[in-house]
Symmetry: C3
Subunit: 112 residues, 3 copies
Amino acid sequence: MQKIEAIIQPGKLDAVKEALIEAGIEGITILEARGHGRQKGHTEFYRGREYAVDLLPKIKLETVVSDELAEKAVNAIIGAAQTGSIGDGKIFITRVDDAIRIRNEDRGEAAL
Amino acid sequence: MQKIEAIIQPGKLDAVKEALIEAGIEGITILEARGHGRQKGHTEFYRGREYAVDLLPKIKLETVVSDELAEKAVNAIIGAAQTGSIGDGKIFITRVDDAIRIRNEDRGEAAL
Amino acid sequence: MQKIEAIIQPGKLDAVKEALIEAGIEGITILEARGHGRQKGHTEFYRGREYAVDLLPKIKLETVVSDELAEKAVNAIIGAAQTGSIGDGKIFITRVDDAIRIRNEDRGEAAL
Ligand SMILES: Nc1ncnc2c1ncn2[C@@H]1O[C@H](COP(=O)(O)OP(=O)(O)OP(=O)(O)O)[C@@H](O)[C@H]1O
Ligand SMILES: Nc1ncnc2c1ncn2[C@@H]1O[C@H](COP(=O)(O)OP(=O)(O)OP(=O)(O)O)[C@@H](O)[C@H]1O
Ligand SMILES: Nc1ncnc2c1ncn2[C@@H]1O[C@H](COP(=O)(O)OP(=O)(O)OP(=O)(O)O)[C@@H](O)[C@H]1O
Ligand SMILES: [Mg+2]
Ligand SMILES: [Mg+2]
Ligand SMILES: [Mg+2]
């Protein structure tokens, strides 16, 4: 199992969510975040206005998927979040050792 | 060391927190989140009302524990968060390589 | 690559952010959190007032860095966040398997 964490522009959340569902990814968790990448001191556009890049609002999306679906999930996120402009975001991939569905105590990939 | 991440119903936070403390787990971090599992397009109950399951409010709880305490922590969370209804939540387990207590620079399990 | 997660006092965020930038760390993500460590039932100071330590406001900062920069990042966080008082916070280190820059699909350390 792998955890895919994506930090994306808030305005891309709906498109990314739909792309993941179409790719067969069933569970996602969303967190409100702030962040900066490499353009510290430079500017970035947010909702059509230019901001000094200090800590801009970002969405952090997390989905734990089977190894088999991981690359598909990554491509879904890229396909929906990429504009080609700075600030499009990042994806990080980490190995997850176990998953449990609290309702029925399913374990492993069956719990995803 | 292992990181236990649990996404639970917000109304279960107090019970889960108490169960972890009783299990000897000393440190926890809580984040406000939103999410959906497998019932996209179906409905789920939140505070007694029925919602279309798009992105419902969830609590994300994180605790880093010794390997020895990991299964105890998982059982404490399940025991307090399980109702048997859809939407009860998920637990994910990931290996953590090091921990540091900032106050005194303790490292590893001594820092938990 | 390694993910450094630091849970710090909210008042230390600016100092920690500056210390990371000076250490050459370019990307960071910030989340608002709440938490408790070992002093459950005891008290902790927050903005000059004493609180029963239940769930106090904390900042969770995440940065994914090359293996080479990991120890430097940890030292920057400690240097800026340590006061010697209880509640200074924790750092957790986890291995990250891949990173992707969404704008141009850079992978691995080139994406950080
Ligand atoms: N190394 C990192 N660790 C943790 N979070 C990061 C890292 N890099 C970027 N982020 C998060 O991703 C968000 C978007 O980053 P961003 O897309 O600006 O990356 P970048 O490397 O500057 O690429 P670009 O040149 O395309 O802007 C940041 O605001 C931050 O929240
Ligand atoms: N694979 C996953 N990756 C990341 N977050 C997930 C995943 N699955 C579930 N979640 C999070 O956990 C929350 C609760 O999920 P939920 O309990 O509805 O899972 P489920 O698989 O639909 O099980 P059930 O059939 O019991 O409802 C979701 O709202 C989401 O925030
Ligand atoms: N084991 C842990 N797992 C997850 N989060 C933790 C853990 N320990 C601490 N935290 C988070 O870090 C915050 C700060 O912890 P704190 O610095 O009080 O740790 P402590 O072990 O009690 O050390 P001290 O004795 O210096 O206070 C907590 O409020 C919580 O959010
Ligand atoms: Mg950038
Ligand atoms: Mg569900
Ligand atoms: Mg403490």
